[in-house]
Symmetry: C3
Subunit: 169 residues, 3 copies
Amino acid sequence: MPSPKSLAGRTAIILTVSDRCFAGTQTDLSGPALAHLLTQAGAQIIDALTLPDETAQLIPALHAAASRASLVLTTGGTGLAARDITPEATLAVCTRLVPGLAELIRQDGATRTPFAALSRGVSGIASNCLIINLPGSPEGAESSLRAVLPLLPHALDLLAGHTAHTRER
Amino acid sequence: MPSPKSLAGRTAIILTVSDRCFAGTQTDLSGPALAHLLTQAGAQIIDALTLPDETAQLIPALHAAASRASLVLTTGGTGLAARDITPEATLAVCTRLVPGLAELIRQDGATRTPFAALSRGVSGIASNCLIINLPGSPEGAESSLRAVLPLLPHALDLLAGHTAHTRER
Amino acid sequence: MPSPKSLAGRTAIILTVSDRCFAGTQTDLSGPALAHLLTQAGAQIIDALTLPDETAQLIPALHAAASRASLVLTTGGTGLAARDITPEATLAVCTRLVPGLAELIRQDGATRTPFAALSRGVSGIASNCLIINLPGSPEGAESSLRAVLPLLPHALDLLAGHTAHTRER
């Protein structure tokens, strides 16, 4: 089991994607919950932003975040509502995909609700940064992050080229 | 558990994709089976068409169906045979994908046959309509629809913007 | 259970994708392990090549292999390291995807290591040939192939158009 400080030295940016949080009509509980978990794991949160459900704003924000941090978590905008475009924006930015993380997140979600199958989140790589879409609800976001957290230290080591080459399993 | 009338008010179109059914050399049992299930759930079947395994015909048919109904089910053409092009036509039409539904359908299929892993069906959104590729066999189509049916009322509510925003799980 | 000779009559090409194996600084154990398994199953290995982690070399090699054999297995380059580009090269070559095989491989991998979720391998079709990305480690490659092997005779029959049309499950 990874130590609590297993993301030590890693930088992270959290993007809360939500019209309502951006407009100030809803309090963002997911972003801070994710920041808390990541900080507990030793990561340095270098930024936490709130954006509306707008591709024109989310794509540049993802590009910028990926160039600054080694891990970018998004929360929100992964559902079926017409304005839920987080996965599309993420796909537009990523040069390589990590489908297994999205599958794992849906599997974890399925233990809590059958509607997890409707979550459209993706995960991928841009600028050697790992981008992971998490659900928008605080419980969903936190549970999903916990599900993938044990894999992140190794994932970020591989991305950064720091792991002695042992030919991935 | 959703009530039997949980798709009340929703319109659906069923597309049977099959050279043989289109040519009349094979009776379509899957389309009617799906129509029966959907009608039991309260949906209004506004059309049921049979098409050959031809991208040039299926793509326009999907576009047209997606503009008319809130749910489009396809049956057939999701296998490995050279003329199986339903997933490709569906990907060409969808602007947003719902990978979890396709995963769920394969998981359900795996309980019946190990060959379910060869099913290439996808699920996605076009014109705020949910398009789901189902297997071609009557048993596969019906079982797969039953697997996703409990999620459809909520899914279609989200697509139509009718759900009080509770931040998707 | 398929007979040990269930891939009789089928041609296969194995591509080991690895900078180190290509440079000769690492012995390829995965390629030979896969060749042994396939030969046991009755397939004819018509070629086994080693390539560097270079898209410019892997894409043409995949195109060429797909035009010569009915099954192409790649091993290596499916991880998160910056030079791991096997899935991207495979996606560039395939005209139709078989996501269920990649899901099955990750599920099999998960029984051996939680890091299987980081495996980015894909599976798809090019020139009526089935291309499957396997992990780079000998254990991962062999275990993954064993996981999909029972499906391959039927899969290759479907691709070759040899199966009496029974409407895929």
